[in-house]
């Protein structure tokens, strides 16, 4: 029996520029199973990042159905979406998006501040997560004291520390050297296989896309096809 986590049906997204409607996504239908690892590929402007943003609840579709774990998130208000993201989604960005004034420890702590965990519970979780990404000895370092690969690992730790259902990655290896990119991809695979995290990753790097179980290709806002 299939366990669909993300249900997308005839999804559309367009932007208004002046008095013109510019379609970015058209008639996208896609299901993502719980525990899947999917790569969204396509050339620039194909709409892959837009689709990722819609699934992550940081943008709203202009048409179609988008259900995550049975919940139609396009109907949630801004405040409800913020709460939903905090408990369901973990984000990993191309340029890490860490707070430069906070240490690795404090950056990982950020999403936990929105939970009811006590200080000691937070500490326990942060230490465990940073240990998991191999940065237990870099807790007190600021982002500018870490390499790109280490910063991305801090970002991964920040993404998983709340134990979200879905990990959303936007070009997570785009700013990394080959070795660091390989480390990050291995880590994502590990998170998928051992912790069962559902991962949706946008990439235009074919090698990175191979880390996923499925590859979905978009072009000009339409789903071109998918492969395994």
């Amino acid at each position: 029996m299939s366990d669909t986590l993300v249900e997308i049906k005839n999804l559309a997204k367009s932007y208004t520029r002046g008095d013109q409607d510019v379609p970015v996504l058209r008639d996208i239908t896609l299901n993502i199973e719980r525990g899947d690892f999917i790569s969204l590929m396509g050339p620039s402007g194909s709409g892959k990042s837009t689709l990722l943003n819609l699934i992550a609840g940081i943008d709203k579709p202009t048409g179609g159905i988008l259900r995550i774990d049975g919940e139609d998130i396009s109907k949630l208000s801004e405040g409800e979406l913020a709460d939903w993201r905090a408990s369901n989604i973990g984000f990993i960005f191309q340029f890490y998006n860490l707070m430069p004034v906070l240490t690795a420890y404090e950056n990982v702590e950020l999403p936990l501040l929105l939970t009811n965990l006590s200080r000691s519970e937070r500490r326990e979780r942060i230490e465990m997560t940073l240990n998991m990404v191999g940065l237990s000895d870099r807790m007190d370092h600021y982002p500018n004291e870490l390499s790109g690969g280490q910063q991305q690992r801090v970002a991964i730790a920040r993404a998983i520390v709340t134990d979200p259902t879905i990990l959303v990655c936007d070009e997570p290896t785009g700013d990394l050297d080959k070795q660091s990119a390989s480390d990050v991809l291995n880590m994502l695979k590990e998170l998928n296989s051992t912790l069962g995290k559902t991962i949706i990753m946008v990439t235009h790097d074919a090698h990175a896309a191979e880390a996923a179980r499925r590859i979905v290709v978009l072009e000009k806002g339409e789903l071109l096809g998918e492969g395994v």
Binding site: N53, A56, I58, D59, E78, G79, A82, D83, R85, A86, S87, F91, F93, N97, M99, P100, V101, L102, E106, E109, L110, P111, L113, L114, R158
Partner: protein
């Protein structure tokens, strides 16, 4: 705690910009404090006036005098306790810039009206016994390094000639609001000279200083005094000491208003500077604020971060500015420019106004950048390169 930590870390992120903004705030707050203190100093005489004292002057103008025999008739009015008199002397001590108020007074009872002037009894007695004696306030004595026994040369302007007075007493103020920059001399001594030189101007006085039994009857007693001299050669105008002092201030009201306006213009300018700093700061950090929103932080939290940062900047600048206002005001008071004021002290109300200005600067500077950052779409924010 975390919120405060993030705010403080952000405040000191661009150290040079923060330092320059804080310096600007400090200068503005000090300037505002000084200008407000100048206004306060202008009103100091009126504020320290007693409600139990009345001043009677010629109804036409202060320039016109009244005969001294009015005193007995004023004293006979019910409710009047003591009647004394004084006259503006107007002399120059060495240089015109050494200005201080000089009054020729009735040495017998003038100081009975002013219990706020603390004079040693033996020194007061010495003043009463010396026709060329003088009583000076502590601030004035300190300003010129005078002590009891010193002979002070004064060049007369209204009554020309070189005069010499010997300091017989130095009085202290009962509290900080008491003016102690005056110079008092014996009216009898001056009158003697006037009678010799201008016989028709002898035995005439500028104002009568009156102490009444019941301050609540000040209006009635004033009316009674003025009625007493209606249709006489020198009709009188009697008012409370405070109203009399405010009348002087009103003559220079335009200057006071200008100073007040300038003080608030200074605050408005620094408000624009801090608002610009906050706008730059918020624009540079749009991607960070978008990231916070992605993580689940509310738009209100983002706005609060900007608001908090603006408040920390404002209070940092204001705090240093307020602390510096006191020594700067003290330095000004001791300078030749400050010496023109009888009392030049930073009041509590000035400090509260400085605090209020800091709050206003912080709030207004954060309004637009806070509102914009809170409203920006996450996807637009994430695309933003600071």
């Amino acid at each position: 705690m975390y919120y405060l930590k993030l705010i403080f870390k952000n405040v000191f992120r661009a150290k040079l910009r923060t330092a320059l903004t804080v310096i600007g705030l400090v200068v503005a707050i000090v300037a505002f404090g000084l200008l407000q203190t100048v206004v306060d100093a202008w009103f100091a005489g009126a504020n320290s006036a007693s409600s139990a004292r009345l001043v009677t002057r010629n109804a036409i103008s202060l320039v016109f005098l009244m005969p001294t025999y009015y005193r007995e008739r004023i004293r006979s009015i019910e409710g009047v306790k003591i009647v004394s008199y004084s006259q503006w002397f107007g002399g120059i001590y060495k240089e015109p810039s050494n200005f201080f108020p000089q009054f020729a007074v009735d040495h017998n009872n003038y100081f009975d009206l002013y219990p706020e002037y603390l004079i040693k009894p033996d020194e007061l007695l010495a003043f009463k016994r010396d026709r060329q004696g003088a009583v000076v306030g502590r601030k004035l004595a300190d300003q010129f390094g005078w002590k009891v026994g010193d002979v002070i040369p004064i060049r007369g302007t209204i009554l020309s000639g070189d005069w010499q007075f010997t300091i017989r007493a130095i009085f202290d103020g009962r509290d900080e609001t008491t003016l102690t920059r005056q110079f008092y001399l014996q009216w009898d001594y001056i009158n003697e000279s006037v009678k010799k030189r201008f016989p028709k101007r002898g035995d005439q006085i500028g104002v009568f200083n009156i102490l009444i039994n019941d301050p609540s009857r000040a209006a009635d007693i004033s009316k009674a005094i003025d009625a007493e001299f209606r249709n006489s050669l020198a009709e009188t105008l009697t008012e409370t000491e405070k109203a009399f002092q405010l009348g002087f201030v009103a003559q220079s009201e335009a200057i006071v208003v200008a100073i007040r306006v300038v003080s608030f213009v200074v605050i408005f300018i620094i408000m624009a500077v801090v608002a610009n700093t906050m706008a730059m700061t918020a624009r540079e950090r749009i991607a960070e604020y978008a990231t916070l929103k992605v993580l689940g932080f509310s738009p209100g939290y983002v706005a609060a971060l900007i608001f908090g940062e603006a408040m920390v900047l404002a209070f940092l600048g204001a705090g240093i500015g307020i602390l510096l206002t006191f020594p700067v005001a003290s330095g000004f008071a001791n300078s030749s420019a400050g010496a023109a004021f009888a009392s030049f002290a930073v009041s509590a109300s000035t400090v509260w106004l400085q605090v209020a200005c800091a709050v206003a600067v912080g709030v207004i500077a954060a309004l637009v950048p806070g509102w914009r950052s809170a409203r920006i779409k996450i996807v637009d924010g994430l695309r933003h390169v600071g």
